[in-house]
């Protein structure tokens, strides 16, 4: 039998709720978690470093719950599940998370959500940045370029919404993993291409002229690339962009080099030939599963025949 680790009714405080009031004051939540270990090595060796240290699991659950601010328990649950798979050798996570004193008059007990996830399912479905899911409605159906796609958390999301996606990255292995993940989910309209966008620092490769209905870039910044992106968009094409602002460097020392962060309003300047449909800078959930980060987020559109001038 696969060994299980069960932690029952881990109580801690969290800032989670739809109303601002709920997010301002931490409230008591309970987490029940059942973990299936990946291997049975520890049962034979009796070594702590080969098993799952449940004290550490509890500690991490409490720390992450305490550090996040979110509207929905679902979001919190996803973050916790993501952390468990990332940090512990587990194959399956069952998590029940509930508010012990939910602000609902007729509820005497608790309210909460349950998540049951296997590692395979988790890896096939890494969550995209919430900004992409929020702005998805603005994307025209058609051909989308995912720049610096990595393992493709955004490409997969776009594919599952019926887009045709071309994912480019310099990491061959990441693109192979993306292709496999897409095949597993029977998403067929994906093409991948290995491109090193920074091979010649000041001369980014041509990405074609007016060939994409949309371009998405998440957590990547190479300033000389912007004219190329603008060129590659079709008239009326949409650019969705989100990456770290300098605030994140100051507060979280990430990315390691400040030039990978955007200065105030810089993304607006870099995309000046486009019409801005949405722009903000601030503390956002980047969908990394590691809590909020400071980013600049932009949706902008290339001029076209249908746009009023």
């Amino acid at each position: 039998m696969v060994p299980r680790i069960v932690i029952e009714r881990l109580e801690c405080y969290s800032r989670c709720g739809v109303t601002e009031e709920e997010r301002r004051t931490p409230q008591l939540i309970a987490i029940d978690v059942e973990l299936e270990a990946a291997v049975d090595a520890a049962g034979l060796s009796d070594r702590l470093d080969e098993t799952i240290d449940y004290a550490r699991v509890a500690e991490r659950l409490v720390a992450l719950s305490g550090s996040l601010t979110c509207r929905l328990l679902e979001t919190l649950a996803e973050q916790l599940v993501g952390m468990l798979f990332a940090e512990f050798p587990v194959d399956r996570v069952q998590l029940w998370i509930r508010k012990l004193h939910a602000p609902l008059a007729m509820v005497a007990g608790s309210v909460g959500v349950r998540v049951d996830r296997t590692r395979t399912a988790q890896q096939a479905g890494p969550s995209p940045a919430p900004f992409l899911t929020q702005q998805l409605g603005r994307l025209p159906k058609g051909r989308v370029l995912d720049v610096a796609a990595g393992r493709g958390r955004h490409a997969l999301h776009l594919l599952s919404h019926g887009m045709e996606v071309e994912a480019i990255d310099r990491d061959t292995l990441a693109l192979t993993a993306l292709k496999e993940a897409a095949e597993e989910r029977h998403l067929s309209s994906l093409t991948t291409r290995v491109v090193d966008l920074e091979k010649k620092p000041d001369h980014p490769p041509d990405l074609g002229r007016e060939c994409y209905d949309a371009i998405v870039v998440f957590f990547y910044l190479h300033r000389p690339l912007f004219p190329v992106l603008v060129d590659a968009l079709k008239p009326n094409g949409i650019l969705i962009y989100e990456t770290f602002s300098i605030e994140n460097y100051f507060r979280h020392q990430h990315p390691r080099r400040w030039e990978f962060c955007l200065a105030q309003n810089e993304l607006l300047r870099l995309t000046a030939p486009l019409r801005v449909l949405h722009y903000d800078e601030g503390e956002h959930d980047g969908g990394h599963g590691s809590g909020p980060c400071y980013t600049a987020r932009l949706v902008a559109q290339k001029a076209g025949p249908d746009l009023p001038r």
Partner: protein
């Protein structure tokens, strides 16, 4: 021993970061005193002083004034000046306007050369930054007239190329005088950029000293150790103060960090008091 940085740019001129962000970099680098020295503008000093009080960093009022030396520009830094001085404000404002009339002229030359760009496009690209030739270069890149900023300068924008337009700038001695009249100490910026021989530099420094020059920016991000020694010697010979700074601009010079330049820069806080004294004895 802690470090200082007396040469920094913000979005008030051609830097890419706000005053607050530049000062956060300074804090992180362990800088205890700094001067924001934006090109031909002192408007950011009030904000910098307030942020300095918050972060525990001394803010030296500063400016970097553009002047004309023959075919090229020469920059004069000013420290501890009375930045609210109305005469200084008016002089700097006129100087900034010369930049504004220059850029439309450059665009006009480019149009005459058959390159259809507009000044509005350049302004849109610059956003909140003050418009400069780098923005025109970027527009030429975006419009595919050139493939790099360097090519834009080499083919069109540099001195001697068909779209080059001169700015009306003061003589170096005049810039020195402006700073003196505002109660500040004028300092020759980054001597490495002065295109002349060692003898030419010595003559220039002596002439400017006669006009009121108070110091030389000996310590600078791109000065080699032998240059630093040379300029240090020159300052000693001419009885001038020694200053130093990174010339941080942000993303346009990504290899330069506040306080530490390319990693080797360290400007001692001991340089600050002589500078302060020189200003009060004005």
């Amino acid at each position: 021993m802690s470090r200082i940085d007396l040469h920094l740019h913000t979005t008030h001129s051609d830097g890419s970061f706000s005053t607050r962000d530049v000062m956060a970099f300074a804090k992180q680098a362990g800088v205890t005193a700094l001067a924001i020295t934006d090109h031909d503008i002192v408007e950011g000093i009030a904000e910098a002083t307030a942020i300095g009080a918050e972060l525990g960093i001394e803010v030296v009022p500063g400016v970097e004034i553009s002047s004309r030396l023959g075919e090229s520009e020469l920059h004069i830094l000013g420290y501890f000046l009375n930045w609210t001085d109305p005469l200084l404000a008016q002089r700097l404002s006129t100087l900034r306007d010369s930049r504004h009339t220059r850029n439309p002229k450059i665009v006009q030359r480019l149009n005459e050369l058959g390159i259809p760009i507009t000044y509005e496009q350049v302004r849109a690209l610059a956003g909140t930054e003050s418009v400069g030739r780098p923005h025109i270069a970027r527009l030429l890149m975006e419009k595919k007239f050139v493939t790099s900023a360097k090519e834009a300068f080499d083919r069109y924008l540099a001195n001697g190329r068909p779209a080059f337009v001169d700015r009306e700038l003061p003589e170096p001695a005049e810039a020195v005088r402006w700073i003196r009249e505002a109660g500040g100490v004028p300092v020759l910026a980054h001597p490495t950029w002065v295109r002349t021989s060692a003898d030419g530099l010595r003559t220039l420094v002596r002439d400017l000293k006669a006009a009121g020059l108070g110091g030389i920016e000996v310590h600078y991000s791109t000065h080699t150790p032998s240059q630093t020694t040379e300029y240090l010697e020159l300052a000693k010979q001419c009885d001038l103060l020694v200053t130093g700074g990174s010339d941080f601009h942000g993303v346009t010079k990504p290899d330069i960090e506040v306080g530490i330049g390319r990693g080797q820069l360290k400007v001692s806080e001991k340089l600050l008091d002589p500078l302060r004294k020189a200003a009060t004895s004005n």
